[in-house]
Subunit: 219 residues, 2 copies
């Protein structure tokens, strides 16, 4: 693997683990057993590394968000879709856990991240409309707008909230928890015949949580 790619890969891992602000160019070089000078041969500095990582993240995210527009949607698809979206966020969690810091220090990212937020809102808007059309969801229009905002807020800041709460969950469970939290926000607006579906999700989540926590305790 080329040094340039190893730098990106190592940086992402370190940023996710320690937070972008706590990782210096020297740290990245040390972790890879190369010299700082070598790192600066490949990238002008940390900003360029972060920018590269963000662009990859951004590009992939756009594609994920646009995916459901293609196919027809049911309530289980929506659940799976949320899972994919949140997993992608999780893979680049350093961007989210240090969002304000990063947006202040890298002004280029600011604009793009904002655009991504609106993309999230659009996706929530389109999906909620489709669910309403299909009779899966019933909700007054002004509450629907607020619900979409709330979903975007949750997608963007759940990782921060979790960090503040510090429950030290295994990563796998963290993602399930985030998705279930969003499902719970949507649940009161599901048509009555879908209450059962939410309860199934709740049961699935609780069993999974018990199972994962059990495994974590054993090891």
């Amino acid at each position: 693997m080329k040094t340039r790619d190893r730098i990106l890969q190592t940086s992402l891992a370190l940023f996710n683990a320690e937070g972008e602000a706590n990782v210096t160019t020297v740290d990245i070089a040390n972790e890879m057993d190369i010299s700082p000078g070598n790192l600066y041969y490949h990238f002008k500095g940390k900003e360029e590394i972060v920018g590269n990582l963000f662009n990859t993240f951004d590009h992939e995210f756009q594609q994920i968000l646009d995916a459901p527009a293609a196919g027809s949607l049911n309530s289980e698809d929506a659940w799976f879709y949320l899972y994919v979206v949140f997993e992608h966020i999780f893979n680049y969690r350093f961007l989210y856990r240090n969002i304000n810091d990063i947006m202040e220090r890298y002004s280029g990212i600011n604009r793009q991240f904002r655009r991504l937020l609106f993309h999230k809102l659009d996706a929530a808007d389109a999906i909620s409309k489709e669910l309403i059309e299909k009779g899966i969801m019933v909700i007054p229009e002004n509450q629907r707008i607020r619900l979409c905002e709330n979903i975007a807020l949750n997608l963007t800041f759940w990782l921060n909230y979790d960090q503040l709460r510090r429950q030290d969950m295994p990563n796998e469970l963290l993602i399930h928890q985030a998705v279930f939290q969003i499902m719970s926000i949507v649940a009161p607006h599901l048509a009555e015949e879908f209450n059962g579906f939410y309860q199934e999700c709740a049961t699935t989540y609780e069993e999974l949580a018990a199972h994962i926590l059990q495994k974590a305790r054993e090891s």
Copy 2:
């Protein structure tokens, strides 16, 4: 006014305006027309200033959160209560807009902020229970737990979300918007006879928003 107090006051204003990380001890001293040396005579460093501001914030917040335990509650009280809570957060918004950064760099604050989050959750828990008892709210228990988490998430990260969205709202409207957003999350769980109350709030909010934005455009 004593220099020590002026330092705290000036720091709070600068932190709120520019973000804590972007304000140096020299900036604070310059703003007050005193020397950096003088500032360091009063405080050991920025950490002590931030710590002092946080303690004041924390102390006041604890009292605000505990207030409703005293009196009996109706739906209008809850609305007003939210307003008071959020206004206090807004007054110390630098703590919230740089929450991760601050918690990483000031480990003392980390613990206290986490405690405050649980205090928020407890308040949401107590109030939701009271509203249920009084028949104002109807909600399954597992959704109630998630609703409380969602309210705590909104209280803690709404300012970050708003910043990312960058709507450049007048401050007054920003607070109303946050409170109305939280009301909208609760609304689907209000007993039917309180739907009218939510619609009133919605109308009030929309009129207010139109009024404030009109005034802002004129000036």
